[in-house]
Symmetry: C2
Subunit: 246 residues, 2 copies
């Protein structure tokens, strides 16, 4: 299933409003972690899988990348990206990641920010990523942490009668597959995979693991979004950095 929630008008409006606020998990937890994992952007060719409105593509160019290809399933996102983050060194392509066919193109760095949990066939994705990496190329991605996606009903914080968070409810860890969630709209589908599946699939396809990050909030994030203190109690995301030696 190739899910395109971002072209749902209700979702898109809410999502853009959230991201433009600059006060999000992305801004204070996920993006700082994924950026910290990048060795260098200078003169690199970059593929961004699930590029959204092109903020990261623009960030790459500002930091010296030679070219960026941004891929997204959503026509709304790609239109915004071209409008707000267009650049002669950036090419935006509107296609599901699963259908991307770039023939013999290769990249020095492939990034994917919070898109992998929407993709059903993780193994096929990693085969594709490996085939698109130059020798010594890096693949860095973030995804929702398996601790977060595990429980079938995705009801996680258990609270007391006053609304205080008592603990995080985990269950169904080994049951990989779909999880359905309400996020602005009903029926948002994510795929739960275990830590071992996330990592072994990379290893089995010839990628070397270089770093695992379970990020906490940056200090300014804790000030602007006090609830991010809960990232200490359970990580929302995991960032995985790997490298192709061949």
């Amino acid at each position: 299933m190739k899910q395109n929630i971002y072209d749902n008008p209700v979702f898109f409006k809410e999502y853009i409003s959230l991201r433009e606020s600059g006060v999000t998990y992305n801004d204070f937890v996920e993006q700082p972690a994924i950026k910290s994992a990048i060795s260098s952007l200078k003169d690199k060719s970059i593929l961004d899988l699930g590029c959204g409105t092109g903020h990261f593509a623009q960030y790459c160019i500002v930091n010296g990348a030679s070219r960026v290809m941004g891929v997204d399933i959503s026509r709304n996102m790609i239109d915004q990206a071209k409008k707000k983050n267009g650049h002669e060194k950036i090419e935006y392509i509107c296609t599901p990641i699963e259908d991307l066919d770039l023939h013999n193109q290769k990249f020095d760095l492939i990034i994917s920010s919070l898109a992998v949990h929407y993709i059903e066939d993780y193994s096929q994705l990693i085969v594709k990523v490996k085939s698109l990496l130059n020798k010594n190329g890096e693949f860095i991605f973030s995804t929702e942490h398996p601790i977060v996606t595990a429980r079938n009903d995705m009801k996680n914080w258990v609270k007391d009668s006053k609304g205080n968070k008592l603990h995080w409810a985990l269950d169904n860890y080994q049951e990989e597959g779909t999880r359905e969630q309400h996020w602005y709209i009903d029926g948002v589908i994510k795929y739960h995979r275990t830590i071992s599946t996330l990592l072994n699939t990379l290893i089995d396809n010839g990628l070397i693991l270089e770093k695992i990050i379970e990020p906490q909030a940056i200090p300014s994030g804790l000030v602007q979004m006090p609830k991010l203190v809960n990232e200490e109690r359970r990580p929302s995301f995991i960032v995985i950095k790997s490298r192709s030696l061949s």
Copy 2:
């Protein structure tokens, strides 16, 4: 702190009785997983960190290992090992893993079964392991899963009034350090570390990650210990295989 619960007479008696029953998490979950990760034992020199009563050392010899060194902090354990699993190709040493000093000895395989969560300084352990591995040598260890060790009070299964397990309570994930537990005796200390710490410390010390296993019970285990079905809900253990290329 070098903890030696195994020389506490109450603990030792209960532990030996449990292990001799053959109906344990070790038999049905952890040992099958750790054994499945071993490439080969044939003609290999092996170091077993936390060897207990020497079952695994004996298993190595039966499967063709050239020599085994078994290390354990407990005099009780080492005495049992020599008595029950003695062999001319096995050397048992009674010392805390932290104090082990083997000068220039090297091994093809270093194994550690459920001992790492008792060791305070994980980084120092990994430096030592790396120094003791031959080129291409493997380090395979099991430890309690961070999902299990995370919550400070280690009260994990939340049950309804009838005793049914509702979910697993997780908390305090990013707070690495001691966790205290009652296990036959009060005050058993374990060390919680995150997934990222467990893995990055290996990578940062020059070891290549080869496999991560979050084991479930083997089929015969589910028959003899029906509660092992709960391993599907959350993994008790994690097994990590790495290799030294230099």
